[in-house]
Amino acid sequence: MPVVLDADRMARSLARIAHEILERNRGIEEVAIVGIRTRGVPLARRIAKSIHDISRHDVPCGALDITLYRDDLSGGPNAAVGPQPVIRKTEIPFSIDGKLILLVDDVLYTGRTIRAALDALIDFGRPRAIQLIVLVDRGHRELPIKADYVGKNIPTSPTQNVQVHLLEIDGRDEVEVLP
């Protein structure tokens, strides 16, 4: 099953998530959205735009790079030997204190990226709450982490590879599962 989500269904999933956010959180004034680099960032922007289209409300949008918070950098017992991953900029141009932060990533898998993102976010302040949005949940969690909004649940085996392509980065909207 190569393509599991095409452009049309991806757009509908994101629109549904925007509606769910508005339904579950009255007082959207105190909400901000933060995408995890790389592909969480355009997803966050799209959801912010949907929320704006529905409620006429501007949601501040940020980008988070979690590389410096990873648990598999060299040095640890499970370190992959190799050059360090590239770090990109974290840009959160607003205070997160007291806000509801919607954290966005493309694929939820082991949960380790989200663990790192939570640590990174908390270094910026004390949000009122953090909720997690993912486009795809592929299972196989290694940490007790659960998404609040899921675009699509896709059962996979650990050997498979889930690839999310986004228009802004890859030129097309598509989710594939590769063997």
Partner: protein, 309 residues
């Protein structure tokens, strides 16, 4: 990146751009309310400084702390070095306590290369004699890139004590690798023979060096390394080679003035230039922390050769 950072000579342009890009991301950490990330947690870094230093040592220490490394400063003035211990013995003893990195400043050229051969720890050169000072050149390039976007094609003038300057050597190697047009200028007694082989243009006329320059970098007169009389007096040096507002006017309108510090005001640079609107001297210091964080982060990772093996 290789195991150690010994000099700019070992770096490819890609390595240099990688450091500069990483430093750009690191800079943001210094603007947060909590200026710390857990990346180097559990790593031990020894700062071994055999020469006096304020900027470089504090800059490394702040960079290490912002990355959560455990840092240890060996103040040579209060160490066994005074009892006659050699550099190699000191390093072997430190090595026995298994640090991950050693940041070394030493008065002898090549001291870092010596340690690199005998130590498993990664060695970062924080200035060795009259040889290289790679992190200074990287932070200078970062500052230039910040203002000018591209380094290739810029006219850059370096004026001052060329003979004793490791900052000059590292900068000449780096800036020519990235395609800048580099002019160097100083009194003939302070121009090392054969400097042209670094790919620089040499002149003894400050006006010629500075004319239409995009960047002017002043070097300190290093009196502590001077055993002979290289010029008649400091006043005369200032009159002939000092950077004055009048000379700055010969450069491009958007010129930036740099100095690696510490400055001798009234010797190589006039106070009104050092504190003037074109000066980016304090930006260089601020950028030093981000660049050193980038170097520490990149060296803490695996080595590319190892990954291939």
């Amino acid at each position: 990146m290789k195991k150690d950072l010994l000099g700019i000579a070992d770096l490819t342009p890609d390595d240099i751009y990688r450091v500069l890009e990483t430093a750009d991301a690191m800079r943001e950490i210094g603007q947060r309310p909590i200026k710390k990330v857990p990346t180097l947690r559990g790593k031990t870094v020894v700062n071994l400084f055999y020469e006096p230093s304020t900027r470089t040592r504090t800059s490394f220490e702040i960079a290490e702390k912002r990355l959560s490394a455990d840092t240890l400063n060996v103040a040579v003035a209060a160490s066994s070095v005074l009892k006659g211990e050699s550099l190699v013995d000191t390093a072997m003893n430190l090595e026995a306590m298994s640090p991950d990195m050693i940041v070394l400043r030493h008065a002898s050229s090549g001291a870092c290369h010596l340690l690199s051969r005998i130590c498993k720890s990664r060695i970062i050169n924080a200035g060795d004699g009259m040889h290289e000072h790679p992190t200074q050149a990287l932070l200078d390039a970062f500052t230039i890139k910040d203002h000018k976007k591209e380094i290739a094609g810029l006219k850059i003038a370096i004026v001052g004590d060329l003979l004793h300057s490791r900052v000059l050597r590292s900068n000449a190697l780096l800036l020519t690798k990235l395609g800048a047009e580099l002019w160097v200028c100083g009194p003939p007694t302070l121009v090392p023979p054969g400097i042209e082989c670094l790919g620089v243009r040499v002149t003894t006329s400050v006006d010629e060096a500075v004319r239409d320059a995009d960047v002017i970098m002043m070097l300190r007169i290093q009196q502590e390394r001077m055993q002979g009389a290289f010029f008649p007096s400091l006043r005369e040096y200032f009159n002939v080679f000092g950077m004055t507002a009048e000379r700055v006017r010969l450069a491009k309108r958007d010129v930036i003035i740099m100095h690696p510090g510490p400055m001798n005001r009234g010797v190589e640079i006039a106070s009104d230039v050092a504190d003037g609107p074109y000066s980016v001297i304090l930006e260089q210091v601020a950028n030093g922390v981000a660049v050193r964080m980038a170097v520490l982060y990149l060296l803490a990772g695996g080595v590319e050769d190892e990954a291939a093996a």
